[in-house]
């Protein structure tokens, strides 16, 4: 050490004689503090940068003094209230043996008083320790100023509390009963101790569980803090962030698979056996009123609609305007390849939307069970159908006449 013995002594004196003032200094206090009772050797602390400022304008604690203060409070906080339980228990045993010793009858009253006092002190210490631990948990080790230090404190107190629980649960009712050797007075004292221990063990159990939760939380925070610092460094080093195009699979499994604001477009599996149910589900659940109305118009024509805005589905089976087109479409399809849109362009009714025809004819094909149709191959083209504002369906379909002919 480069400081001389004399300097250390001067520092000691300066600290001792100004302890009262130093204990109220605060590093975060911008204005500083002024005092009326500083001793002469306070100047030593200013000269050696333990504090700065002037007593006329205000004195501040420097980082050195703050670190010293932190270390002192750490040690203070860590000092256990409870003496070694094993030692205490052995000493209690000696006291009780002495009390029960018939040769020392004349000192019995005095020894009993010592036993009572010792038990009362132990109960008080355990209670105090529990309260201290509860305070530390409640303040999340507020006296330390970094996450890694909090983690260290948390680990230390978890171990200390667990050890304490182990030690005090050693004092079971059986052990204490054995210790009392059938003496009613002693048993009454020890029985009171046992009751306190049970309640303290419960409190300590709760503290251990809170410390475990805090440990998880500190670890998580610490990891996140490191992560943010590391990415910040990466950016400041001029490195690019995710300057890549992710493929479908990467996007699907990444946190970027988020549906952004915008239209929702349904792609309905037209090969599904439950197509009509799916459509009804879309209609029923869409919050967008316009879409509901649009579908309702379509559905009315194809047989599914939402009557009076209620949830009921009614299948309208009569007056189907598409019926007359069915046979013709099948015929033309099997003669030569023609798709639903081509058919509708040349043969459809002008006042009926193509989409309604498309849905109807598809449902119709699905519902038929003839050999020729079973072997027909549906070519379906899907699209996002902007004009549908949120729904959609099939762009077109055709029956593969080539395949049909081959099978036939």
């Amino acid at each position: 050490m480069s400081a001389s013995k004399e300097q250390w002594e001067q520092l000691g004196k300066a600290l001792t004689s100004n302890a009262e003032a130093l204990s109220v200094l605060d590093i975060g206090n911008e204005e500083g503090q002024t005092f009326t009772n500083l001793t002469k050797n306070f100047q030593f602390l200013i000269d050696h940068s333990f504090v700065d400022g002037h007593n006329s304008t205000g004195i501040h604690a420097t980082k050195i003094l703050d670190d010293m203060s932190l270390n002192l409070s750490l040690v203070e906080a860590r000092r256990s209230q409870v003496e070694d339980i094993q030692d205490w228990f052995e000493r209690l045993q000696i006291h009780i043996d002495r009390y029960l010793d018939k040769d020392q009858k004349e000192r019995q009253g005095e020894v009993l008083k010592d036993i009572k006092k010792s038990v009362v002190i132990m109960k008080g210490d355990l209670k105090q320790e529990t309260e201290n631990l509860q305070y530390l948990v409640r303040t999340e080790f507020g006296y330390v100023d970094s996450l890694s230090q909090k983690l260290i404190e948390n680990k230390y107190y978890s171990r200390r509390t667990t050890k304490l629980v182990k030690q005090i649960t050693f004092m079971t009712a059986g052990e204490l009963l054995k210790m009392a050797c059938g003496d009613t007075l002693i048993w009454r004292i020890l029985d009171g101790l046992e009751n306190s221990i049970n309640s303290i063990v419960n409190d300590l159990g709760e503290i251990i569980s809170q410390l475990d939760n805090m440990m998880w939380s500190f670890k998580k925070k610490n990891e996140r803090a490191r992560l943010l610092w590391a990415i910040d460094k990466h950016i400041k080093n001029g490195e690019a962030i995710l300057d890549v195009e992710l493929d479908e699979e990467e996007l699907m499994d990444s946190p970027f698979n988020v549906k952004a604001k915008g239209k929702i477009t349904a792609f309905i599996d037209i090969d599904s056996e439950n197509l009509s149910d799916q459509l009804v589900n879309v209609v029923e659940n869409l919050p967008n009123k316009d879409v509901k109305e649009l579908i309702s118009v379509l559905a009315n024509k194809v047989g599914v609609y939402d009557e009076d805005g209620s949830k009921e589905k009614i299948i309208k089976k009569k007056d189907n305007p598409f019926l007359k087109h069915r046979k013709e479409f099948f015929k033309k399809s099997l003669e030569g390849r023609i798709c639903a849109s081509q058919y509708w362009d040349s043969n459809g009714d002008m006042d009926l939307p193509f989409e309604s025809w498309l849905i109807w004819i598809h449902r119709n094909i699905l519902s038929m069970n003839t050999k020729s149709i079973e072997n027909a191959h549906l070519n379906v083209v899907k699209d996002d159908f902007d004009q549908f504002d949120g729904v959609i369906i099939i762009r077109d379909l055709s029956i593969d006449s080539y395949k049909q002919k081959r099978v036939a």
Partner: protein, 213 residues
């Protein structure tokens, strides 16, 4: 059946691309937790959109990206989130620096504008940080000659617009951190893995612990 007004509200929020957490939408969040999940899932199922519950948040995601439009939209969203990284990191770093123990923000944490401004004003290095942050495109402002209060206002406004904080008390300018911050940490984790960024510190915690215990 869920209450239709609540149900519609939840669908509208999700469809609007917002995330539902217990800070931004406490009622809707509780409704989802208490059984509305299934109904919402069913409502979006025909669209091949999933209701996702991750990081303490509800949001919509794609069940697949087979469709070109969905893929394009997701790629655009990816770029948007990527562009948020630098400003949000810069903001989180300055908040961590001003925290006593250097903790990063968590959902539900409170940001008090006045208090934060006081801390920034008290330390030169924080003021420099704030000035540096303002050079990031996302925070740039048409106003010139901004003081610390203006700059902090601008930063908080931008972060609020991005959904990471929400205003809890307008007159006192008290903000609450939303659940989306956890989503951001997940994105950060993805970045770390993608770029192989190391988070190892020079401090050996074990050694430090042994010294203290």
């Amino acid at each position: 059946m869920p209450d239709m007004t609540d149900f519609r509200q939840v669908l509208n929020i999700l469809q609007d691309g917002q995330m539902i957490c217990n800070v931004t939408h406490p009622n809707e969040f509780n409704s989802l937790r208490e059984g509305m999940e299934k109904d919402v899932e069913n409502a979006f199922k025909p669209f091949e959109i999933n209701l996702t519950f991750k990081y303490g948040l509800y949001y919509l995601s794609y069940a697949n990206l087979n469709n070109k439009t969905d893929l394009t939209v997701t790629r655009d969203e990816f770029k948007k989130i990527r562009d948020d990284i630098e400003p949000v990191i810069a903001f989180l770093i300055i908040i961590m620096k001003t925290e006593v123990d250097g903790s990063p923000l968590s959902p539900g944490d409170i940001i008090n504008y006045d208090y934060l401004l006081k801390i920034i004003n008290s330390e030169n290095s924080y003021q420099v940080d704030l000035e540096n942050i303002m050079r990031i495109k996302a925070f740039s402002s048409q106003k010139t000659q901004l003081n610390n209060a203006d700059m902090l206002n601008r930063v908080l406004d931008v972060i609020k617009d991005k959904g990471y904080i929400c205003l809890k008390n307008k007159s006192k300018q008290i903000y609450s951190v939303t659940g989306k911050i956890r989503y951001f940490y997940e994105v950060s984790e993805f970045i770390k893995q993608h770029h192989g960024i190391s988070t190892e510190d020079t401090i050996d915690e074990k050694e430090q612990e042994e010294m203290l215990v």
